[in-house]
Structures are given as C-alpha cells and as structure tokens.
Amino acid sequence: MAANPLVLLSQISKRFGATVALDAVTFTLLPGEAHGLVGENGAGKSTLIKILSGVHRPDVGTIEVAGAERHFSSPRDAIAAGVVLIPQEMRIVPAASVAENVMLGQVPTRAFGMVHTRRMNEIAQTVLERLNVAIDPRTRMDRLGFAERQLVVIARALAHDARVLVLDEPTAALEAREVARLFEVVVGLKADGVGIVFISHRLDEVTEISDRVTVLRDGRVVETLARGSFDKERLIQLMTGRDLAELRRPHALDFGAPLFDDKSLVLREREIVGLAGLLGSGTTELLKSLYGDPCAAIARKIGFVPGERAQGLVMGMSVRDNIALPSLGRQNRRALDVLVARLMDALDIRPRDPSRPVRELSGGNQQKVMFARWLAGDARVLLLDEPTHGVDIGAKAQIHHLIRQFADDSGGVVFASSEMIEVLSIADAVLALKGGAVVARLDRTGDYTERALRAALGG
C-alpha cells in the first residue's frame, strides 16, 4: 500500500464478562479513505469504534495512530491524538450558539478570561466554510435541524484538528437529500487527507461512499473488501453467513381471519406486518396507538414489547415476576411456576433460574422474557418495537424464529425495525412510515425489495 496507515488496530480483543465482543480484530484506516464498517447487531462494530475512540480499552492488542502506539484511557486522549467519534446521540449545547458549539472546549478568550466572541465566530465560520456549509455561527444551536447539528458536530471535530472521524450510523435519521449533502462533506474531507470510519446499516450507502468495507461477524473480521470487490448482496452474505433468499420467510398465503382492523393497518392470523421508517418517522407511535390502553389491550390478547427493554421490564424483579406481571393474582403459584419453567425452556432463556433478577440477564435473554410474558398470557397479537435491537446474533436468530413460530401458530405480529433487511426478510408486508403517516404499503405481490422500500421512504 502506498500510504502509511493513519490508524492501525492490531489483534484487538475485548470481553464483557463472559461475552467475547471482539476477537483478534485487525483494522487499518488509510489517509483520505472512507472505510465502511458493517455487521449485524452484536457483531462488534460499536465495540470496535469505542476502542478506537478511547471509550473502551482493549483487553489485548495495540492501537497505532500515524505510526505511533497509543494507549487511550478516555475519549479525551483519542481526541488529542486526532481521533474523534461522532456518536448517534450527539453532544451539543442546545441553548448556545453554533460558534460556541463548534469551539466547545477551546473558546478563544481575551484578557480576564472574557470570551473573544468575534474571533470565536470567525474561526467557526472558517471551519464551516471548509465543510461548504452555510450556517450563521451566531444561530442558536436548537434552531437547527438534526442534519445541520450533525454538520456542526463534524465542524467541531475539525476545529480540534481531527485526522480521523468516526461516524456511528450518521445517516440513520437523515433524508436522502441530507445524506447526499453529508456525503459531499465526506468527499471534501477525504481530499484533505482525513480518514473516515463509518458504521451504517444501509448497505446502499456503504457501497456508494466506501473505499473499503470491513465486515464483522460475531466479533471477528470476516473480510475487508476494496472498492470494486463488494456489492450489497455480497455484504449481506458475509454479514449473515447466509444468502438473502434463505433469510426470507417462506411465503404463507393462507392468512386467516383479521385480528386487527384499524384505519392504519389490517392484520390477519398468521401474518407478520413490518413497519419501516427513519428515526422519528412514527413507527413507535403507531405501535403504541395500536396498543392503546394496556388493560383493554391485554383483555383483547394484545401484547406490546417496547423498543427500550428498560421500558418493558422491572429490572430489579425476578424473571418469574416479570413474566407474570400482566396476570398477577390470576394464577396460583404452582401453576405459574410450571408455566414459567415451560416458557423458559421453550424460549431458551438463560440462565434457567426464574428467581434471578432480570437485570442480570443479557439483552437477548431480557428480550425473550418480554416475549414469554405475552406468551404466558396467550396473546394473539404481538406488537414489537425493534425486537432485535442490541441483542447478539444468536439471540437475534432465536427471536426471528420465535416471531415466525408465533405467527405460524395463528398469531399476528406487527413489528418495527430500522433494519430494512430484517423487515423485508421477516415480514409478509411492510408499511413505510414518514412523518408519522403511512406513505406506502409493500407486499410480495409487488416489488418487495430494499430498493422499492427505500424509494418509498426517501426523497
């Protein structure tokens, strides 16, 4: 390779308790390179970028930046070395000006520590111009939309002399037009020699912008591919270890009686309906409105699994009590114990200890406890919000299996996911949501592809 790598991560391993998050991962980033990082939930992408940006420390392995070995003990150290992480949840000061946000932590001062406002605005203006972004530095930060805030945060990184930018799902909440603008910025940064690492679930974008792509699976690097040797199908295959066709739910045409007939959607027995949309598109709100009053919904045998497990589980309570929560007092203790034991076996909830507080379980097992709760109550309709978010790949496959099994047993499922591949492979029909409204319905009788779904959501 012509250029010396800007970043060299060698043989990085990281464990969290008994879980191996990264296993001997080696990763290089060249100057002026956009390097895509892809993998399913739990593949280790987040852990890798957190190690690169000083949030976590590796158990084993070395980090070199521009040829020098570094030991980051905090994000501060990484920033000092020129490595800046732009997380999904951006750190901004909403009530301060754009300039103050760009210059956060290095505000220019005059005598007696007074802020040199004019100079601050000038520097911020210069950095924003370098990004080709027309935002008045005196604007209050909270006047800006999400996409603009993101550009301000990138400007801040540049004001800190960043040589490596790490973008975690930068496009998750962006519309097509905003994605295009972000990519223009990325191309400009590349020309300046900045190295860019970015995580994305949107493989179209990854293939469009990346010079190289590294695929992670189960904490290991499957392959690093150079431009020209990857396309979307290939990436999916490497990420999942399977072909897309295999992931698809076998098409079951014989849907039963309607379980749900709402103005926004019809759900029949044995049917799985997916909800797709960008962050804030209203998928969560739609699920909640379908659920409505919990007491009434439970009486109609409808169960709801919220997106944040913290919203659905009482973490300090035992697995047994969490499963029994909707049916408290309606079952005698012994019958409940038998039921809980059966469900824990069926769903493979580990460890197999019903008195264990839920907080001590892994994310995937916590999610299964939520399922068990509604299966215990003989639910006929499940409303699931991001059911596989933040669970590892094994648990993800088990949850997919559970969803299908539930539908095959004459249940109906509505589930929202920000992963389009997941929605398309699990669901029989997909509703595309935008701005809180359903804008399109796709099913297998028509064009049922990621391209069609993206077209429905984008623009």
Binding site: G42, D321, E360
Partner: protein, 321 residues
C-alpha cells in the same frame, strides 16, 4: 450495542448473602457494644423502653416503606401523627373511646388519600407534595387545638390510657400491636399480587403501566396505607401521652425515612424489605437509647445519628457496586 452483561454464578455466594443481612449485623453489633459500655442496657426496664419507643415508630416506618417502594416519598407523617392524635383526643372527649380511635385513624387515611391524589392526578413531585401537606396539616393541628394539649376536663377514658401500659404475656399491648401490623403488612407486601404490583410500579412505572397495572391506583394506595398507619401510630402515641399534643410527631418523618434507608430500601423505589426496615427502626432506637445511657449530650446525639445515616447510605451504595 455489544455491552452485554456477564452471567453471574448461579448460587448466591456466602458473601452476598451476608451483605443482604448487613442491617441485622449492624444492629447486633450495636447492641453488643451498648451492652458492654453500659450495664443498664440489657435490663428489663431498658429493653422494654426501647421496644415501647420503637413500637410507634415501627408502625410509621411500615407505611413509609410502602410509599418508598412504590417510588414515592412522604414527609407528612409527623404532622399526621399530631393531627390524628389531636382529632382522636377531641372526638374521644366528646363521643367516647371507639369514636376517637376511628376518627384518629380515619384522619390519617384522608391525609394519605390527599397526598396520593395530588401526586398522581396533579403529578406534583412527592417530595414537594408532602412537604406542602406536612407544613399545612401542622398548621391545621394548631388551628383546631389553639396550640393546647387536648386532654378533656376529666382526662381521656381510663381504658384508653391503660392500653399503653397493659401487658399480655408480660409484653405491652403496644408492642403486640406493632408486631401484628408488621406481620400483616409484611405478608401483604411480600406474598401477595398487590405487593408485586407495588414493587413493579416503583421499580419501573412505565413497564408496570404497559403490563396493564393500574399504576395510579397502586400509588394512591401506598399513600393511603402510609397515612392510615401514621394515624394508628398517632392513636398509640396519644394513649402513651394520655392526651393529644399538637407538637407531637416532630421529626418522625425523618426518623422513619432514615429507618427505611438503614434497612437498605432504594429511595428510587422498587426495592426493599419490610423486615429490614424494622431492623432500621431499632438501629435508630438503640442508638439514641445507648447514647442516652452513656450520658452523651443531646446535641452530640443528633450529630452522631446524622453521621450514622450518611455512613449507612454510603455503605449500601458501596455494596451495590
């Protein structure tokens, strides 16, 4: 994304079980030290005294445990003790013993209901709500008594005064009563579906709501229990004082909260054991009793008790890490 939690060893280790009994160990150590430092500590008179004083506080602390487990807070119990005690005495003087007792307890229940409705319907922070009702009902107490002790022209009925001194099997009826309430409310909290709902509501209100639990009703019930039990404690105290006193119950809310904290319940709700609260009550009781026996000046006593509360809370935090 990959922040997964390690599976823990299946059996709780001896160390963690020991840590669960921290309040009890602290109480035993405290008693042992007190017995060594003062030969009067283990005398029948003194032990009875500690138990008698603890019995009123224990009843208040039961209610406080309910409210705190439900995710709330109640600063008004001290004022309820004064108001309920005075209303109990006022009614008793006019309409007899039974009417007085019922009126005293009912007053507590009504104040609890008011607290609960303000917290749930107006959605005002429990701390602020009960700070308000604490001050307000203390004022009401002074208004209806004119600041005077309520004792009636011929005193309260003899049967009522005797209740505080009567014994069954050599043990005061007051102590029996609080032990009985402890058993009943311990069962309700730890063995019934209602108890689980209370824990779930305090542990994660959103999750409890989504699971179909009527979280507002559960919350109100906790405040009603707390008020009612403060009413019962007020009647017990009036019997001991043979009068209704408008100054009664000052700082009781703080002692009760301290006892709950010493017992290891989480002030964020959802965690706690009634049995440990009782230990907490007696840690507070034994501590002040021992300091008295050792002739520690009452000003210093307050300093010492304050330090113990902070140290205990600090230890709990350390243990949870």
């Amino acid at each position: 994304m990959a922040t997964r939690i390690a599976p823990l060893p299946v059996a709780a280790s001896f160390g963690s079980r020991l840590a669960g009994q921290m309040p009890l160990i602290a109480l035993v150590v405290l008693c042992a030290v007190s017995a060594v430092l003062s030969d009067r500590f283990l005398s029948t008179v003194n032990v009875t005294n500690v138990l008698l004083q603890g019995s009123v506080m224990a009843v208040i602390a039961i209610g406080m445990t309910y409210v705190i487990i439900s995710g709330g807070f109640d600063l008004s119990v001290g004022s309820v003790v004064a108001l309920s005690g005075c209303i109990c005495a006022l009614v008793m003087v006019r309409y007899g013993m039974l009417a007085g007792i019922v009126a005293g307890i009912a007053t507590g229940a009504v104040v609890g209901l008011i607290n609960g409705l303000i917290v749930t319907k107006l959605q005002i922070n429990p701390f602020i709500t009960t700070l308000g009702t604490m001050v307000m009902f203390r004022g009401v107490t002074y208004l209806i008594t004119g600041g005077h002790t309520i004792i009636g022209e011929d005193g309260l009925p003899a049967a009522f005064d005797d209740f505080a001194t009567d014994r069954v099997l050599g043990i005061h009826k007051l102590i029996w009563l609080s032990a009985l309430l402890f058993a009943a409310f311990g069962w309700l909290l730890h063995a019934t579906a209602y108890g689980k709902r209370l824990f779930a509501t305090g542990g994660n209100r959103e999750a409890a709501y989504l699971a179909g639990i009527a979280v507002d009703r559960v919350t109100v019930s906790a405040y009603v229990w707390c008020g009612t039990l403060a009413g019962v404690a007020a009647v017990m105290l009036a019997s001991r004082l043979q009068s209704g006193q408008p100054t009664a119950g000052e700082f009781y809310e703080l002692t009760a909260i301290a006892a709950v904290v010493l017992g290891g319940a989480s002030l964020y709700g959802g965690e706690g054991k009634l049995y440990n609260t009782m230990i907490g009550v007696f840690i507070m009781g034994v501590l002040s009793n021992a300091l008295n026996l050792l002739n520690v000046h009452s000003y210093w006593q307050r300093v010492a008790i304050g330090l113990v509360i902070i140290a205990a809370a600090g230890l709990q935090r350390f243990r949870r890490r």
